[in-house]
Symmetry: C5
Subunit: 90 residues, 5 copies
């Protein structure tokens, strides 16, 4: 999983049918060791995360397993909202 | 998913049988936070997107789930046409 | 899918059994927008592509779907020979 | 698989149900040839690894196969604790 | 598939059960066009490759298909030992 910050929303009226009703968020990847900002991408949010929150994102075939829609063409899903990170050793 | 702009078309007469009839578009990845242009690649379009439009692209095993052809060897599909993006926090 | 140019051949006598008889080509990834050359890798060719040709390559779990061997450990397959690319907007 | 060093912990109270009880660690990728430090990410630990240890991490669809939960949306799992690496030729 | 050179061994006594008995090698990716050295990673060897040999590595879900253990959490497997590469056009 990667760590990211939710930085925005994206809307698409014309989309693949199984995506109807899914909330799409723009996430910017952050490195938990260096705090560096990396690339941004779009992830489905199914746990009620909001802008500014740090989240865990699962990508690839795992992303779909966090959704109740077995065949949605989703390759990135927010699977947790981060309360705390501790990086004592770096 | 990633955000991209459709920048062109690609034609291939000799191709794997299950791809016959699928429209292939050249997409350039864009970073929704920084507007930076990244690498370009080819995605199948099944929702009628056109050149110049911003789209959502799903990659990997999810890409095939957006198509009615269960075993097409497709690793990138356009799954939505973006109406609006809002990135208030960056 | 990505765009690449076939630049060479690779031979391996000792290999996983299901790969016997499959033709392996060295492909260099090209960016269809910028013409930049990227990394090279090895893809299975099942449609009769030759050195110097521009091809479409599918990677990941999709790669195997283009082959008649359901369980070959193949992660990149040439799925089309490109006739033409048009990138009007860039 | 990649080689990484466990550098921290991450806590998420609100998370996808199947992740409850799984320990999440922050791992920094290390190159076994050059010792260079690469990006950090989050992996599930199911074998009892601790901070400071060098580990093997499996990513993608393989990550889930190391867990007793068949449908957890996990894309990175620690699958071994490294005792020794030998890189005679470099 | 990617081309790599076997540069070392890795040992892990505590590891996921299905990995017992599998030989793990450190592989450094090489670009067959430019001979550039890229990142190193760990791949399972099931065909008897040795240090210094050039090999073909399959990654992702394909990696597991080269092993007789259907559910091993393996994301990279050596699938061939390279005898010769020819890159006439570059």
């Amino acid at each position: 999983m990667i760590v990211g910050k939710i930085v925005g929303n994206v809307w698409a009226t014309r989309k693949e049918d199984s995506l109807k009703g899914l909330k799409m968020m723009i996430v910017q990847r952050l490195d938990p060791c260096t705090d560096e900002k990396h690339e941004s991408f779009v992830a489905v949010d199914y746990i009620g995360a909001g802008i500014g929150e740090l989240v865990l994102v699962s990508r690839g075939s795992a992303a779909n397993k966090a959704l109740p829609i077995p065949n949605a063409p989703v390759d990135a899903t927010i699977i947790g909202i981060i309360d705390q990170m501790e990086v004592p050793e770096n």
